[in-house]
Subunit: 215 residues, 4 copies
């Protein structure tokens, strides 16, 4: 029951965060199609932010479904994630109209990085709250995709003073990669007792994959 | 359970989207009733958008109730629908104060069309996730009303450079037609095992109707 | 299940509507306590609107709990109520800074009246969807309080051109009267099979009371 | 069931309140990192408000879980709490850009104090609705932490005309102290029938602790 209300509250916050960004798409001053041109970059960043937050909702959903116990620390690790996600519309409001500038690109990247770190902390705190050998433990394994995202965000932030367009391209790329659903957890939920063999990990491939903790 | 949380999240997003549009109804500058006059078209578009989004909530609700399985693709088809719906307040904010203009009428139509296409994609992705002979498959049948709406929106967008008032009239008309609830799905849910005979489809009538897949 | 999702969606919309009004309380220009003075009437109207919407949530909650069946018409009567409630923050945004003016007082009253009528329609549509002798039918009885509110709102709107302060005083008074919870429905839910005797209706008293339909 | 919907509505309102504050973080005028400097105090107050509201959500959650009965008075005590919490974004919008000023610090403190008093009223009203010897009664005991918070807020408001920075420091300190989860209620929920011995209360220490009502 505790988990249900945690999910319900998180859903509420994420629902507000994902939609409040549309307030950045103020109507243009004129009434012609050409007056829409300055809206295009804002719309692109709104789409990026929407997909980014939807991804977190999706993975958050799978993560909590695999968890069986919620501790007080989980509530706060979850609030920390929600805090970072809630900064997305503010960072998007700055990046949208300044798509080629360094500082807004860096700040947007910091929010993405902060959210990714917060998600990773939430995963660990959740794991610590489970009994040994829990479904969640078997499901999470080594988080190659998560780790690679963190590295990509750091690189993008570091590049932003020199090449802000590349930073933004990295944000879009990482988000696109994550659109592939997290099959690790889904697989465990479907066959929680089977002794699946892990697929061989092709080095460098940004897809996450299943790793049995006994390996 | 997965479906429950998908519904809860969608409800949250739709609840924010449907109400955030009221922020477009800023109080008038003066304090007399005549100062309200510029609000009238904004209120009309707010009402149109409210009914439009309520329709989607309603049909989304019936659609998911008939579905038994949710896949990862369903989550993203659903996010795509929510994205298009979330653009409604922004498009309404432009159309409201420019009710006779071509570009805002076209853009509003594009958002309606995008939402309708996204709903149609969601229906197909949901169908693909069900086992053969599922209640959803029997319920959906041929979507005459949906297809006619798509055509109407395309016509309205095409007319907007010449006759934006007609475009807006089409948006109101299509929404009014949809106010008739989607009896196809309701009927199946009530009598899931009966072998109903389909009513004869009067050609050209914009009402949706039940079609048994065996026909 | 249908009722659950209707409640969840209504809760979401009402939660947004009740809180979005706080955006009308923009920070004052200065940084002294005296700079707060223009906020006082806005805060009063925000409080009035908050209590008004909380009342509707409360009664909506009791009403739906007593209902056993939801029809398609109920969904639309409910959407109509949500539409009127969603106009409250917009009307409050106008009334707050123009507390002594006629037009804003009239418009605010129209929104209150529209909500009250919409609630009354919802009650009737819900009753029509129930089987004869349902708990809801026994619970609703004659709605003295509701009818008196409608009359009060009409009087307040009619008075607004002459005495807008009295109109606003009526809005506060009616809301205060409604703060007394709707015992009619609560009583039936607690003792659904008992044949309670109705208390004698003291004429003119604005409290609602239980009336057995057989009387 | 009644409790479920009360929780769902409260979650919805709190989710909107906690995220709407991000609208105070408007993008800076320029596009350089130094243009972010005026955002820093706003971000600090947004973080403070976020944690403050998350705390209330958390404790509200534990409180309602321990309650078995909801009365009409509980609904209104709960609405009163939600009203005070909903003022947080407005108070934060004033304090953020005026961090060293007296009046905004005082007003922010009044909102914190009002929320704390409202929570304390809700606790009492909930207790009054429970049968004697309820889990909630055993769980709440003497609320040292709550009482100390009230005193701290009063002191901070009193100090604000002279030393507004100290007031703000007190707000941060009290919030940090509350981050320690409320173990009193958690403990009772886990071992509802055990006769735990209360730890000795070290005078002056701001941590809340369990007190058996029979002591």
């Amino acid at each position: 029951m505790s988990r249900d209300r945690l999910e319900a509250f998180s859903d509420g916050v994420i629902a507000v965060v994902i939609t409040i960004g549309v307030l950045n798409l103020r109507p243009p001053a004129g009434d012609t199609l050409s007056a829409l041109r300055p809206l295009a970059p804002k719309l692109a960043i709104y789409l990026l932010s929407f997909v980014f937050i939807a991804l977190y909702w999706n993975n958050h959903h799978l993560l909590l479904r695999a968890a069986e116990r919620i501790s007080g620390a989980v509530l706060w690790a979850n609030a920390n994630l929600l805090f970072w996600l809630s900064l997305t519309p503010a960072a998007a409001a700055w990046l949208g109209p300044h798509l080629g500038e360094s500082a807004p690109a860096a700040v947007y990247g910091v929010v993405l990085l902060g959210s990714a770190i917060a998600y990773s902390i939430l995963t660990r705190v959740l794991l610590a709250a489970q009994p040994p050998g829990s479904p969640l433990e078997r499901a999470v394994g080594r988080d190659h995709k998560g780790n690679l995202s963190l590295v990509a965000y750091v690189v993008a932030i570091a590049l932003s003073p020199i090449a802000p367009w590349i930073s933004v391209a990295i944000y879009f790329t990482v988000t696109a990669v994550w659109l592939v659903p997290d099959r690790r957890i889904e697989r465990v939920l479907r066959a929680p007792s089977s002794s699946e063999t892990a697929p061989t990990a092709a080095s460098g491939e940004p897809r996450s994959r299943w790793r049995h903790p006994g390996h």
